[in-house]
């Protein structure tokens, strides 16, 4: 699920401006490291329950077809089959996003894409369940289909679902165009008139899958009393709880969801697929049901990102000032609304301070799986288009690409195309770091080019609730509601250690289940270190307040006269009285007798998630004979606000860059004429392997975010935004061809070289 609404980044001033940190910024071992190197960490598919059945799903082989009849009698007759469910076994009367999710999880009367779920079976073994799937007989009436975004907008395109178009869509557009976004400011005509050079280009990008190595998995128990338990790999178990409860028609609070360790998500595990199906099967069979997707199911039926068709027009003066920028972004989101076209538009020109800018986004439906968020949804394709044109302008006018970006860079006070005026941001610092980086001075070999590009992501706050409990031995346990997708438990412990003044190793952080905390938004939007971090800091401060109260009580002084320093309660000054500092452990040892347990709690929807910018430098070599592009050197420079755990910040930078490299050069959804996905295994949907990549250098820039006590900005997503353009720019530098269609696979580059 994409971020529902982009909140302007003008939250309350929270930054404490500390000069020194004891724990934050250190490279400690992660608390789940031992479990993960020994194989005992429990991921989604690693759970078992007594009496457990195994589920499997019947899927449509057609891109678009009316379902005339589903006959499950032969499957039900197979020995070992215990339950079969179809759409009739789920809640009726849902509306809005719940209806869309249910329609994706289990089709009603029409199969909308190749892989669409139609029925599900629970049996005593997964082999029997899979055999039973083959015995289900479905009668279809084939309908015309469309999988390409531009084709889906044409007047004669098949209508995928009538009546879905929002009122915002300009009149006369095809019903497959379901939503429209526009933004910008300034006089476009005057802006382009001022330019010495105007370049206009059309760009396309293909859908890429998040490619998490762990397929979706769930273990569900639901009784006909409406009480259930669910274990699953997810980026947000609270949204799973809420959505599943709605889809199977039970009360939210009666379903307890526990998030397993998660084997990658990147946005793709922010919604539900198997979870409600496993619950419905369990209710019908009255036994626990486990479901695990195959890789083909993951690729065919879970959300990749959108494919995009974009038009960009930018004007520039001879000395490198951008006079106007216009972007039109058409994104298909599968057979459902909510493709991130608006976010693509909003991110597109974010790195530039423009007097005249116009952005438009079209959300388009096609016969493909429901798109899901993928790391900075919408932004990488938009950056590919805009940063390619900026590069071409610099090339043609003989300007330095970094100098030109600095000249036009967004900074504090710049009004963004989508509305907000930036608070303190770090783009200029990133560009300056790029300029100074030795990578920029390194010599290039024959047929090798150097590309530079910038990228942007909003970052997100979201509903957050954290609890912290102190133990009598002076240690602390923290419950967070955001699944740990990249080492966040370590970051939470570091931030709490900073406030409490105890050692990192004396804090245990747990991703608590839905029964333990109030609602927590998903681990998405690069929000966890920011929002759960802010809540952890405040929960720790809440506990510190209580610790000070106990010390005051013991000393017989006013609680206001006690301060917390270096893990001890101390009198606030000479007037407060002469007492030796009282360490945390001293207070917790007596807490049972001095008023009971001491814990801290904080919940809020923080709105000061500072936006994040990054700049990437890449050297790419193109083999003129084969058309193959290899990435020889790569540097990521990004603003982290404050890096709580620098090693994991670097890891986010490197991971984002690697995913961007895959998207740029190789990854794509390939559909046949029949509308079926042709590359449904990792052999054909090939993500970068170790031998494809160089070391990925990183530079962490720290321009504090005013909206976080320690200045933290989320870092998870921005790293995937610049690579697409940076590599295209490097290819252009290497062999002089401007690639405007991703992926830049060898056949496409060869073709471009031939046409040169």
């Amino acid at each position: 699920m994409a971020l529902d609404k982009v909140v302007p980044q003008n939250g309350p001033e929270e930054y404490e401006g500390r000069e020194k940190y004891t724990h934050v910024g250190t490279r400690v071992d992660r608390p789940d490291g031992l479990d993960k190197v020994t194989g005992r960490a429990k991921f989604g598919a690693d759970a078992h329950a007594p009496g457990m059945l195994h589920g499997a799903i019947v899927r449509s082989p057609h891109a678009h077809a009316k379902i005339l009849k589903i006959d499950t009698s032969k499957a039900e007759a197979l020995a070992g089959v215990k339950a079969v469910v179809t759409r009739a076994d789920f809640a009726a009367g849902l509306e809005g996003e719940d209806w869309n999710i249910l329609e994706n999880v289990m089709a009603s009367d029409t199969a909308l894409y190749d892989g669409h779920a139609l029925a599900a079976i629970a049996a005593t073994s997964s082999l029997i369940a899979r055999d039973a799937v083959k015995l289900v007989e479905v009668e279809y009436e084939l309908l015309p289909h469309v999988t390409d975004v531009d084709e889906a907008m044409k007047p004669d395109a098949p209508v995928i679902r009538a009546g879905q178009q929002s009122k915002l869509v300009p009149e006369g557009m095809h019903p497959n165009v379901v939503n429209y976004y526009e933004g910008g400011h300034g006089d476009m005509v005057a802006g382009f008139a001022e330019a010495d050079l105007v370049i206009e280009r059309h760009f396309t990008t293909e859908a890429a899958h998040q490619g998490y190595i762990e397929p979706h998995a769930a273990l569900a128990t639901l009784g006909n009393d409406g009480t259930g338990e669910l274990w699953c790999c997810t980026q947000g178990h609270f949204i799973v709880q809420k959505t599943c409860a709605a889809l199977v028609g039970i009360d939210t609070s009666q379903l307890r969801v526990t998030a397993s360790e998660i084997g990658g998500g990147f946005g793709g595990k922010t919604t539900v697929f198997l979870e409600p199906v496993a619950l419905a099967l369990s209710r019908k069979a009255n036994r626990p049901v486990k479901m695990v997707m195959s890789r083909s199911e993951v690729l065919r039926a879970t959300g990749p990102t959108s494919s995009a068709s974009m038009d960009i027009k930018i004007g520039m003066t001879k000395d490198g000032r951008i006079t106007a920028g216009k972007g039109v972004f058409r994104l298909q989101g599968g057979a459902f609304p909510d493709a991130p076209a608006g976010m693509a538009a909003e991110c597109s020109f974010a790195p530039y301070n423009l007097n005249a800018v116009s952005i438009e986004g079209y959300e388009v439906m096609a016969n493909r799986p429901k798109q899901a968020a993928y790391r900075a949804p919408g932004s990488p394709m938009a950056a590919f288009a805009v940063e390619s044109v900026v590069d071409e302008l610099c090339q043609t006018l003989g300007l330095d690409p970094i100098e030109t970006r600095l000249k036009n860079a967004s900074r504090e006070g710049t009004k963004a195309a989508y509305g907000p005026t930036w608070d303190r941001i770090g783009l200029v610092e990133c560009l300056e770091a790029a300029q100074a980086h030795p990578h920029m001075q390194a010599p290039l070999r024959e047929s090798e080019g150097r590309g530079v590009a910038a990228g942007f992501w909003f970052n997100h706050g979201g509903e957050t609730s954290v609890s912290l409990a102190l133990s009598e031995d002076g240690t602390a346990q923290i419950s967070v509601g955001t699944p740990d997708i990249g080492g966040s438990r370590a970051s939470m412990a570091l931030m709490a250690a900073e406030i409490l003044g105890i050692e990192y190793k004396n804090i245990r952080v747990t991703v608590a289940d839905t029964a333990t905390l109030g609602y927590n938004d998903v681990s998405h939007g690069s929000r966890v270190t920011y929002a759960s971090g802010l809540a952890t800091i405040n929960a720790a401060k809440d506990a510190v307040g209580k610790l000070c109260d106990r010390a005051a009580q013991r000393w017989g002084i006013d609680p206001e006269a006690v301060i917390w320093e270096d893990g001890c309660a101390k009198p606030a000054g000479p007037n407060a009285g002469q007492f030796d500092p009282m360490p945390l452990k001293e207070i917790t040892k007596r807490m049972g007798r001095t008023g009971g347990p001491i814990s801290g709690h904080f919940e809020a929807t923080p709105e000061g998630a500072g936006v994040s910018f990054g700049v990437h430098i890449v050297d790419a070599h193109v083999d003129r004979e084969t058309g193959k592009t290899s990435v020889d050197r790569y540097t990521v420079i990004q603003d982290a606000g404050k890096a709580v755990h620098p090693t994991y910040v670097e890891g986010q930078f490197q991971g984002g860059a690697a995913q961007g490299i895959g998207w740029a050069l190789n990854e794509e959804y390939v559909y046949g004429e029949d509308g079926r996905l042709q590359n449904t295994v990792f052999l054909d949907y090939r993500i970068p392997v170790a031998s494809d990549l160089p070391m990925i250098d990183t530079v962490i820039v720290e321009v504090p975010n005013p909206g976080h006590p320690f200045g933290v900005r989320g870092v998870g997503e921005t790293g995937i935004c610049p690579p697409l353009a940076a590599i295209a720019n490097a290819v252009s530098g290497a062999v002089g061809v401007r690639m405007t269609s991703l992926p830049m696979s060898p056949p496409k580059i060869l073709k471009a070289l031939k046409e040169q």
Partner: protein, 159 residues
């Protein structure tokens, strides 16, 4: 379909199991022997998350039938540490943060250990090609490669 009786060794322990002829070594490890360290990421031998060694040879356990394990010696991630003492690779992976989500880690550790047993002084290129069958979507491989190279250096020094 009747089940097949198999006797094999896993991480040095003799085990017996009954498996369906269609079940893979990975199915057997995970579903019958309760060793869930090896992961199924693809089921087609492309991702390496299920890597184990069979008689010292690195294999994708999703591509080998359980029945074929008769009389073999299988080693999984669960057998890498020596009691409470972690293998140097395991220590380095934690120290270098050579994992983010950790789903590919068991397979990568098994594969890297197998490499270092064959080649104690690998070049970066050798490590990258040896691990090319183990997909990682989180890290971009940088910290993994560094962790393996540094482990190799440390093990050479210690020996």
């Amino acid at each position: 379909m009747s089940k097949i009786h198999v006797t094999t060794k896993v991480n040095g322990d003799e085990v017996e199991f009954l498996c369906d002829p269609r079940e893979t070594v990975l199915d057997v490890l995970r579903d019958h022997l309760n060793l869930t360290g090896a992961k199924e990421g693809c089921g087609t031998g492309d991702c390496g998350a299920c890597s184990v060694t069979v008689d010292g040879r690195l294999v994708c356990s999703c591509l080998m039938l359980g029945a074929e394990a008769e009389g073999k010696e299988i080693a999984t991630v669960e057998g890498i540490a020596d009691g409470e003492e972690l293998h140097p690779l395991q220590k380095k992976f934690i120290e270098y943060a050579a994992l983010q989500c950790g789903i590919c880690t068991p397979g990568i550790l098994v594969a890297a250990k197998n490499l270092l047993e064959r080649e104690p002084d690998p070049t970066e290129e050798q490590v990258r090609y040896w691990l090319a069958g183990n997909l990682c979507r989180c890290t971009g491989y940088d910290k993994i490669i560094r962790a393996v190279m540094d482990t190799a250096a440390e093990m050479r020094e210690a020996s």
